[in-house]
């Protein structure tokens, strides 16, 4: 699987979907933070973050997602995650964040739930 970090954004759906792939670490988390901040700054308070292509994720990435979740909820929205990779789910589980984020298995399911 490609380890290079990429972010794409799909605003054609009812809820914007930010898809990340590759390794999200201390070096690559800032662009993700900037993208999520830009979305909430533009008034999109509900966001889906698709992590299906993510191969590595550290506490910096978790911090970015938690910060974005807080901003979304302060604006009356929410932030949902799409994760299926057990390795990535494990990081959320051991930090107790599976109880904090709505987590879905597909983007369609996350978008449908967030609408």
């Amino acid at each position: 699987m490609d380890q290079t970090f990429h972010i794409t954004e799909d605003t054609s759906r009812p809820v914007p979907v930010v898809s990340a792939s590759g390794e999200i670490d201390v070096a690559t988390a800032p662009p993700l933070r900037d993208r999520l901040q830009a979305l909430t700054a533009s008034g999109r308070s509900t966001v889906v973050v698709d992590l299906l292509g993510v191969t590595f994720l550290d506490s910096t990435a978790l911090g970015v997602l938690v910060g974005a979740l807080k901003r979304c909820r302060e604006s009356g929205g929410d932030l949902s995650l799409v994760i299926t990779e057990p390795r990535i789910l494990k990081v959320f589980e051991i930090t107790g964040l599976t109880d904090v984020f709505p987590i879905h298995a597909t983007v369609d399911e996350a978008v449908g739930s967030a609408e």
Partner: protein, 135 residues
């Protein structure tokens, strides 16, 4: 990589500048050492993440200096030590603040970890034992 005076101990040293995009080198070294030590895929992935969190527990990316790593393995365990060596003349200090998320990850992924001052430098270490074979 070297086999030092202690029988069966293999040691690998790595020194990197404190730069966000170079932490991957520590993860890569950890994975290589763990593979050579016969760790399974799951344990290798645990160690990669734990080493990343060890770095994050010591420094911020704007700290000026180097991270000196010592990876050691014996047949059933890997020990990783990491010390922050500030750039001469740099008047900052290593962050010294361990993020709660980092701490939870380290607690879950390794058998032991800790921090200490060594020769005036802030250091952190971890130890992970190889999971028993299920075959």
């Amino acid at each position: 990589m070297s086999t030092d005076g202690q029988a069966g101990v293999v040691a690998v040293d790595l020194a990197i500048p404190v730069k966000a995009d170079l932490v991957v080198l520590a993860r890569l070294t950890a994975a290589t050492v763990a593979a050579r030590a016969g760790f399974g895929v799951e344990d290798i992935e645990d160690l990669r993440l734990a080493v990343e969190e060890l770095c994050l527990s010591l420094v911020r990316t704007d700290d000026d200096g180097r991270l000196n790593f010592a990876f050691e393995y014996v047949p059933d365990a890997i020990t990783v030590k990491c010390c922050f060596e500030p750039q001469p003349g740099w008047d900052g200090a290593a962050s010294g603040v361990v993020d709660d998320l980092s701490l939870r990850i380290l607690d879950a992924l390794v058998d032991e970890h800790g921090r200490e001052q060594r020769d005036g430098k802030l250091c952190a270490w971890l130890r992970k034992r190889r999971a028993p074979s299920t075959v």
